[in-house]
């Protein structure tokens, strides 16, 4: 009777995507927010050609980091509000399948937002150097690390009295390495640096991803038990 780990994970991902494509609440919020942040940066930093060269990576990553917390919060609140998390925990599946299911859906939402925001940014600022394979790879690696920790911490935050407002405070100091390494690497890629220059931050990103996927996977049980 017990479904395999893979099937349970897949069921959760498909459920999340189906619900989201119907309501589009989470993606709309994340996208609108992202565009707003970029708009604000435009005037706050006066994004002319010289400035843009240096700050493109930073602006994009700040945008994704902030928009990401909206998605993470919403995705976990959906489970908590009507007791659905209990429903998941009652199913005869490994708890870690629940973690992976939620993490993969969260990653999907994050990547969808990135896939829409990047062309918009390129269009607004005539910055097409962001469409490089290396840039996309860094974006993917950074998003994975961010979402792994974010999914775990959102499951934690949703169970506290302060709920949503706690997530960014818990999350940002822990994902600082991801953000810095991603900005470093993607910034270097935009100005066409040698691969040797981006190797160090790239390695750190990979190390972070591996460690935190493993740890979040191990700790999820401690977060949902009672």
């Amino acid at each position: 009777m017990k479904p395999s780990f893979l099937k349970a994970t897949l069921a959760i991902v498909q459920k999340d995507l189906a619900a989201e494509f119907r309501s589009r609440e989470l993606l709309t919020a994340m996208l609108t927010f992202s565009v707003l942040v970029i708009l604000i940066f435009n005037f706050a930093l006066d994004l002319n050609i010289d400035v843009r060269q240096k700050v493109t990576a930073g602006v994009l990553w700040t945008t994704f980091a902030f928009a990401g917390t909206l998605g993470l919060n919403r995705s976990m609140a959906v489970e908590k509000d009507r007791g659905c998390m209990d429903g998941l925990l009652l199913a005869p599946v490994d708890r870690s399948a629940i973690f992976f299911g939620k993490a993969i859906s969260n990653l999907a939402f994050m990547l969808i937002v990135e896939a829409i925001v990047l062309p918009l940014y390129a269009f607004f600022y005539n910055e097409f150097r962001i469409f490089q394979l290396e840039f996309i790879a860094v974006l993917l690696l950074g998003s994975i690390g961010y979402i792994a920790v974010g999914t775990l911490l959102s499951a934690m935050a949703v169970q506290t009295r302060t709920r949503e407002i706690l997530l960014p405070i818990l999350l940002f100091p822990i994902v600082v390495p991801v953000l810095i390494a991603s900005v470093l690497a993607s910034g270097a890629i935009i100005i066409g640096a040698e691969f040797s220059e981006i190797r160090a931050p790239l390695n750190l990103l990979i190390v972070y991803d591996v460690i935190f996927i493993a740890v979040s996977f191990m700790f999820f049980d401690f977060i949902v038990e009672e």
Partner: protein, 233 residues
Amino acid sequence: MQKKPILLTILDVLSIIAIGVATYFALVFAPTELVMGEVQRVFYFHVGTGWVALLGFIIASIAGIAYLISKNMMWDRFGLAAVEVSAMFFLITIILGSIWARPAWNTWWTWDVRLTTAAITELIFIAYFMLRQGIEDPEKRARFGAVYTLLGGLSAPITFMVIRLFRSIHPVVVGNPSAAAQGGFDMSPDMRNTLFVALIAFTILFIDFIWHRVRLGGLQEKVEQLKLKTLGE
């Protein structure tokens, strides 16, 4: 009510004496550094507090693992004590560092590796306190607290490494006599001894503080227990 252990009282006295001795060494015994002058003396306390702050952070992570394995509330009190004491010493370290940085680097603050990592660690601690505050059930509070300290303990070293990718201007004093970074200096034997005394003094003070805080946590729990008993439920 359990009485304060005699050993703890002895430790109290010992830490006062130790800090007194360390102060004497730092302010009087140690020679004045040639280039930077008197302000360099703050260095002994800066390193002393920084050392115990780091020690507290590591102990908190170990206590976190121990709690998750044993589920013994004793470890939670220990972990909380370590985080609180460590947070205080990190703050003192940062302030002392910036007093020294003003004349040495001509700025109160730089985004240097150690400085930034210390600041981020301080933010992790604040998040930890906020997390605990938002949870009623003590067992869940302990569990979440332990998980969060461990996440912090794992990410802080990576943060350090990532920031080091930006060029550091923090002087590497110990174990690197030819410190190329500005503000570095060679330590004379007297300076070394003074630093050694400061490290021991702060370690004693640190143990004293942790002990007090763990004991306080235990007493708090007793008070709660008595309250529940007298209220009948």
